[in-house]
């Protein structure tokens, strides 16, 4: 058995955390080959080669892989698929876009958001916003899986696997990149940060979200948000934590002005320590919080920022 793992490469850079966590999830299933694809991927490939448990790295550099469009990357993976029993990627928006396309081209099911590997055919995944855990056994010859990285520890580094350059695969030109709207930030990445401070509708405005950001910056934390905060324009979409946003499991999650809807809990309830600050003592968020503070966030957050 052998595993092909699509490394997370954005703008030529390897997303080490997501990739190394996925390696941990699948390394017992067989020899792991990492695929780094991008307009530029050589640097990512040499970095990926250091991840413990990786046997080989394939580097596919070509302009068509530059903006993570699904069609060419799926075609590339399908062209390599014959050699592998498992095709895997971290469950990022890129992989969610690409892997189901790969699976359908191979006429197999995709198993998304895998949170546990039982054996080579059997996997555990959350369903119903994490209200249930399902164990599924695949009857397909090739298993196509995306990995919920928040449930696995990152593999170490220090190895030096061989890197092999490969040519592009043929793919019809169906879509074209136009532009990215990415806000640069010095804060840690939301999905790998050890502390996350999140704000909800209770924060009330984009302006007042600065209170949340100030606490985050004092703690060296990432900033998250509820759907209501994003929908209301207080926070950008990529801060959304939840069933249909990002899934995080930091050491400390501080929820401010968030009621604790099931769709939000789905994205953060595996955090080690949860703090809730809410003025409504009945808010459901308190049922999952290790430390609950019933308070007005406009008083409590600045005070907390000052005292930590």
């Amino acid at each position: 058995m052998a595993v092909l793992l699509l490394a997370e490469v954005t703008g030529g850079a390897l997303q080490m955390d997501a990739t190394a966590k996925s390696v941990t999830a699948v390394k017992d299933l067989g020899e792991v080959t990492l695929l780094c694809a991008g307009a530029e991927a050589a640097e990512a490939a040499s970095q990926a080669a250091t991840i413990d448990g990786v046997a080989k790295v394939l580097c596919a550099e070509d302009a068509q892989y530059g903006h993570r469009l699904a069609e060419p990357t799926a075609a590339l993976i399908v062209s390599l698929a014959g050699d592998y029993s498992h095709i895997v990627a971290p469950a990022t928006t890129d992989a969610k876009n690409i892997l189901p396309r790969v699976a359908a081209l191979l006429d197999v099911m995709v198993i998304t958001d895998v949170s546990g590997v039982v054996d080579a055919d059997t996997f555990e995944r959350p369903v119903y916003a994490g209200n249930a855990l399902q164990t599924v056994k695949s009857r397909d010859a090739t298993k196509v899986l995306s990995i919920r990285t928040s449930t696995f520890d990152a593999a170490g580094t220090g190895s030096s696997a061989p890197v092999e350059n490969i040519g592009p695969a043929e793919a019809p030109s169906l879509s074209e990149w136009v532009e990215d709207h990415v806000a640069a930030s010095d804060r840690p990445d939301l999905t790998s940060a050890s502390i996350v401070v999140s704000g909800g509708r209770g924060v009330g405005s984009e302006e007042d979200f600065k209170i949340i950001e100030a606490l985050a910056d004092k703690l060296g934390a990432a900033v998250g948000a509820s759907r209501a905060a994003v929908d209301s324009g207080y926070a950008p979409n990529d801060w959304q934590v939840g069933q249909t946003g990002k899934v995080v499991a930091p050491d400390l999650y501080i929820a401010c002005g968030i009621s604790g809807a099931i769709q939000h809990l789905a994205g953060m309830k595996d955090s080690k320590v949860i703090v809730a600050i809410n003025k409504d003592e009945e808010a459901p968020i308190f049922q999952v919080a290790d430390y609950g503070l019933v308070a007005d966030l406009f008083e409590a957050i600045p005070e907390l920022t000052e005292k930590v």
Binding site: N97, V127, R139, K272
Partner: protein, 253 residues
């Protein structure tokens, strides 16, 4: 141009899910069911395109139990022109996998020749986030997932997508499959007169056999369990107490 909108009947997002004690699944008997929220957004978008004159006909399709008729009636009341129900299960607990759904949708696309399929990004029951991408693959079409803005421009569509790093805009050739994200629009409520009118709109009933598609599952559900519950914590009385607990008890600061 015709637009096809696949809509799934799922447990209502407000209902508290109950896992059955014997590990066989989630209890869906006598539970409120609704249209998957992302599919409401998809229907809304298609209906707006029709209202804007870019689209001539909106066809809603659902695959599942007979009761999915209700979901299709909702789509018709929102403004879809006609509906197709593919009865592929007789037990509400039987979920049809994305691969099988995609194959059935491909057969419908072959028959109807739409210029666009708009589906939801994710069904909130199985949380798969797969069907649209699979359909695009089977058709050999372009795909634009997680859309938060769609502009149809002749033979192409400009789509703004919600991605991990922020937003990405791509241009796809039509025909294409587009999946909706939360910020694409705010779906309308069906008005009473429109609900009445929807009862008279055509709703065709089919089976997977009509399309020659095998829907037998590839994944066997071995068991369904409840996730570990979090222990309820404590209330703190002040910010000082909170800081003290985080430093000295939890050790996270």
């Amino acid at each position: 141009m015709k637009v096809l909108v696949p809509v799934k009947r799922v447990i209502d997002y407000n209902v508290k899910v109950r896992v059955k004690g014997d590990g066989s699944g989630v209890d869906l008997a006598n539970v409120k069911m609704s249209m998957n929220p992302f599919d409401e957004i998809a229907v809304e978008e298609a209906v707006r395109m029709k209202e804007a004159g870019t689209v001539d006909e909106v066809i809603a399709v659902s695959i599942g139990v007979k009761q999915s008729q209700e979901t299709l009636r909702t789509a018709l009341a929102m403004g879809a022109d006609r509906a197709i129900l593919i009865v592929a299960a007789d037990d509400v607990h039987q979920d049809i996998e994305p691969l099988a759904v995609a194959k059935l949708l491909k057969a419908v696309v072959d028959a109807e020749q739409p210029g666009l399929v708009i589906c939801g990004k994710q069904a909130i029951d199985n949380d798969m986030n797969a069907t649209g991408q699979m359909l695009a693959a089977l058709l050999g079409w372009s795909q634009a997932t997680f859309a938060s803005k769609i502009d149809v421009e002749g033979e192409q569509a400009l789509v703004k997508r919600e991605v991990d790093g922020g937003m990405q805009t791509i241009r796809v050739k039509l025909p294409a499959v587009i999946s909706t994200d939360l910020r694409l629009n705010e779906p309308r409520y069906a008005s009473l007169p429109n609900i009445m009118k929807a009862k008279k709109k055509p709703l065709d009933e089919k089976t997977p056999e009509d399309y020659g598609v095998d829907v037998s599952p590839r994944l066997e559900v071995v068991k369904t369990t409840e996730p570990p519950e979090r222990q309820a914590g404590i209330r703190v009385g002040s910010v000082d107490e909170l800081v003290d607990k985080l430093k000295n008890e939890a050790g996270v600061l």
